[in-house]
Symmetry: D2
Subunit: 406 residues, 4 copies
């Protein structure tokens, strides 16, 4: 389906060779000050041609707002927006069209629809994400103004080049010894707590650790020179999310977040908090003990949970990681088969991103904002409704929310 | 929300101290032969008390079908079913109720609802999954009869004890050298292609590799003896899924599957195909070249994609892995804080699973079946609709599905 | 689908010959005091055997709460409830099974599902409405406590016996003369403003006008004596609904309300406010001019709109009317055809309601409450979200909500 | 919400003063030949300026397809389309802005959103329906090609001027005598069976009975001359819908159809088949006896049900009627109050339709097509799924669909 969300609903359209790509955002709160520049800034971070590491196509990707806003203020009605496809000619026929590109969507789109766009992969095109990024920028503007929520994503690995300490290594090869296990290092905790978009954007690779960013750059250049491609991971942190978001049992916060992230093209993996590594750590070390915070609220000493417990946010920073595979389109020849099964060799023409993670950073942020926005609206509906009821007096005191500070 | 799916819709209810837990399954195809035993077999694999590695409570968990079936055949109307909670007394007040259990859902449920069940974590209770397992068993019966689809999940790690070769190790510590990278070993490919539920169930730990299963058992015993807990991972393979399932752009197959898996209690991570490891492999090695299969269809030589490309199944085996954290409830004392912030020490009473993965195997299978069932129905709606149209003649031949064999 | 609502979601199950009928209510606000008696009172008004005008079966229809409530307080988690079917034996085969009952659902259920329940009409059974009535009673309890909302439905016609002045007659047969047109009489306005459930229940026919109620009774007795049946209409008024409910453009208040009402068995017609009659009245007479109310708010002088303008409630009383056809099952012989087309004569066995409207009154009330509850939650999500934004200062003053009183 | 449908999903956007209005249509079957002219023809029937009975604004309303189509064939991906608003300047401030227009949406939009478009009624503008009409034209093209489904709507009344015999009158004023009752006359049955769009469009009023059309015209002219407005009704017939559509219990065919129709601006009433009149007719006369049709299928002798029984289509013609109130905007002065409660007199400026029903005809057809399309896709999913199961052999023969002819 091309719609995401229950109350804040984003519907996107468009593939790479049609007139435009865009989205309708339904359910945006009214009264939000919104200028095209609020959206354009994230579209610019997503668009191609930002550096010599990405495809050299230089599309402007200017957003055109169609509805739902007057005098720079949202009306509460659907916001429609679009970005024109500069080059919308249907793809010319060529010999390479006889081949479904390996690990691309040509084959599956044809199987699913019985027909496919001339560009091949249809909606699996990266251009589809323009609508998401624009919708996410709207959500982000609201979240920042109303809650001070901050969402910062960054590249945490390219190929085997990892940001130091994003996840700690097991202390030894002794599989039975987990004493020294630390799922998240102090250094990484500091990064999560402080990293800004400015830091992220200070290097085109969007890794906030300059030395690592340089090594990542070299890795991408190497892939490019080899007419090859390389994958990577993005880590994202969200700060100031209030406790209580997430809708058990099927729309738990991390389930909806994972859904959103795994719908981004080229993603193959998602983990929240300590993730896969954390499964190796015993409960006594993995549990996050509670402490009284300075503001009187209850917080947690560690945060292996990644800000979510029982599928509901607990007010701590939310952090998660997404794996992006190497781009399927590579210029070197691949031994494969045509649609009719005839074996042959295919070499992609044109120019392509050798690595998608730098440009995927704003997409991850956008999807995160869309998820939080929707979950916030649902939770606010519940809280407002409950607040109108007479106080409950018949319950044991441990079952009712009390002031948690003296 | 407590409903999952668009056409095949599962709605669950219940927490651990209420009268019963159960589900309404709406949208099941009519005419399916369905006996209580089809459901009970999976409930039995999920229920506690199966071995001395799980909680010693011995609940029978008998399914009671309420509607939607006559003479052992589904009517197409909602199937309601329930399992009684043998012990439904509200939890007695105790001193430990002053404490939110660290990394459990007590705190977040209270923050979300302003009230919580006497049992603490409300719907985060493992008993909630009974409705899922029952619904999944119904979907599985259909999928097997109509498509020959097989779903087999198994424990692939407990703590640091991993099934050999579930994911290959990088060949060297040289991060720039990825020549020898193999995301999935031959041994693991063989396991995915052949593993059966009988093999999985031949050891109580539900790991199909006897030697590893024994080491996993020792690891759990060690956790139990230490009044501690340990996490693990489950890998699942799905065979015979037809190509074409998955609904771009937001309900791509892996996005919906990830959503389903991450809604299972205690999950923190999900990856499909080569997952996180695959992000380190260049495209030239990670891509799955096409080959003509014996049945004339197009297949892929390797399957790093895990059966999904562009968010749509390609007919190859689907495999994925889920990370389960260590259970939060442990018997040893934890330094933490009370709801009001007062520091103190909490030791859980009662008996709990030291490791959830053996019992989570049927839950993973159930959610996989529910996802496939719903996606199949949606895709069948599209295919049937398209098949009723006059043939398209104006399109370039590369855009239309043709017989792919001579 | 068997689920209704977006945030307050009701899923029902059950047909007449299965073990039980019931519902899962998801999204109920937490902290609501709820006793079984709150639900039972409306189930009692719905159940058969209340008078000699309804089917003489005397089912107890006792509600059994399964989940979502502890100590008489809702937890915010799904509330599951069920009512046992006392007689759940599958219908015995008989010669009359060869015939689809005319205007009943036997034929269409068989066509839709390729299989049908032994009772024939499957989910078109009146017993299906038990889940709705129970869910509606929960919603009503909330709406009354939190908003003082009152919902009262009553029988406004049986056959040709109409409550006086429910809709005024055109003043003359001159189609071009609409001077004297009055869509709603003063007497009817008074009734809408004051009618209570006690008044409605003071006569078994549930018409609050004693003289008319008596004539309606005679009409039903005449139908019963003739082994025939008769239809009727129900009018419903809702008081104290706040302005702002309804979700344009597709989920306008009256669209969702009409959906809900037309999903009740045997309904064929719905109108709100002046309805069909109002289409004959020119705008100058049909428009509802604004006036300042005593409480300072803006109200309307007349209320032909029925409390809804532009698909959104305006704070005035909401009133609407639903048409129920004559029950299809009648005891007299009908010339019709068998499933295989063979002509023949069918006379229904058993005993059936000769008129459904008296028992349908609580069903109408229930569906109204469910609609309001869901729309309230959605609107509260929006209002709460908007209230957290900084004030909008750039808009012309006529575009922003101001205090409407000096 | 601005999205309608489950599988065939239409999302619209736009109000009267923004850049464009339009829609995203998601879930359209792939392989459908679709030209802009397929859509434009219905947009032309909806646009203003068609005759001197409608507003003299002459907007071209040209459709611009954005995505989802290549070489004139649908790809199965979202179809986005838009129509530019020729005059998109925000409304100038004026003294009349102090007044909410009586029975218009100015007041309720402001109450709902706390802000309103400068044009006043926001999405209640008739221009919002452009997206619906375009989406409906796409659905209609499919329904016609794949099923031969015909949808024809026409004006059945303007004010008190009714098409003869759309519903029969009671034969006498004796409320107890219903012997001569006929809910639908023979003449009307003939009209339903034969009426074409060409006949409907042969008169600008879109009533297929020339003499009545002329009287309706005079009635509208009279309203216009009086600076007043007048309401009316539209009747719609749908032919060749297969049996089995409709999704009990909440999405019964008539419930979903009623929802769709009551979401059209200015609608206040909906009835299917014999509707309100039919409630006065006893079951023995109202029931539709079965007969064997020439094609061997089972049909019904009469069709008071309007093609739907138990919420499911039975293969007979579907017919229904919608009531549209008189337009709220009239040029004569109205005594009303300002937003702040100050009494005063408001006279609308500009030019407005004195009666909306002629232009609403294509909107009704569009919403009907959208409903059928979505229900067809859901039912096809079920039928296809059921057809893949082994035959059921354990059921009594009366419970299973058999060939109904020798």
């Amino acid at each position: 389906m091309s719609t995401f969300g229950h109350i804040f609903r984003v519907t996107t359209y468009g593939e790479s060779h049609c007139a435009s790509v865009g989205a309708i955002i339904d359910g945006c709160p009214p009264g939000l000050n919104l200028e095209p520049s609020d959206i354009q800034v994230q579209l610019n971070r997503r668009r191609p041609g930002q550096s010599n590491l990405t495809t050299p196509r230089n599309e402007k990707d200017l957003v055109h707002l169609q509805s739902g806003i007057e005098y720079g203020v949202t009306l509460g009605t659907p916001i429609s927006l679009l970005v024109k496809n500069e080059d919308q000619r249907p793809h010319d026929y060529s010999e390479t069209d006889l081949y479904p590109r390996p690990s691309h969507a040509d084959y599956t789109y044809l199987e699913k629809y019985g027909i496919k766009a001339s560009s091949g992969g249809g909606r699996s095109s990266a251009r589809e994400t323009i609508g998401r990024v624009a919708a996410g920028a709207i959500a982000e503007k609201y979240l920042k103004l109303a809650y001070g929520i901050e969402v910062v994503a960054f590249v945490s690995s390219v190929g085997k080049i990892h940001l130091p300490s994003t996840v700690a290594s097991p202390s030894s090869s002794d599989a039975d010894n987990d004493d020294a296990q630390d799922a998240v290092s102090e250094e990484f905790k500091h990064l999560l707590a402080t990293v800004t978009r400015e830091q992220v954007d200070s290097h085109p690779i969007r890794c906030p650790h300059p030395e690592t960013a340089e090594r990542m750059t070299q890795r991408i250049v190497r892939a490019k020179d080899a007419m090859d491609s390389i994958g990577g991971t993005i880590t994202c942190v969200i700060r100031n999310v209030p406790p209580g978001l997430g809708e058990p049992v099927f729309d738990k916060f991390e389930a909806t977040l994972g859904h959103a992230m795994l719908s981004i093209p080229a993603t193959k993996a998602f983990e929240i908090g300590s993730g896969f590594k954390g499964t190796e750590v015993p409960g006594s070390k993995h549990n996050d003990p509670f402490v009284k915070r300075e503001d009187g609220r209850l917080g947690t000493k560690s945060n292996w949970s990644g800000g979510v417990q029982g599928g509901i946010t607990n007010g701590e920073d939310i952090y998660f990681r997404i794996g992006f595979k190497s781009p399927a389109t590579i210029s070197q020849a691949q031994e494969t088969a045509q649609y009719d099964g005839t074996p042959g060799s295919l070499a992609a023409r044109g120019r392509h991103d050798p690595c998608v993670v730098p440009r995927a950073v704003p997409i991850v942020e956008a999807m995160a904002c869309i998820v939080i926005m929707d979950q916030l609206l649902i939770q606010n509906a519940r809280k407002t409704a409950a607040s109108l009821l007479p106080p409950v007096t018949t319950l044991p005191s441990t079952m009712v929310l009390r002031k948690k500070t003296a």
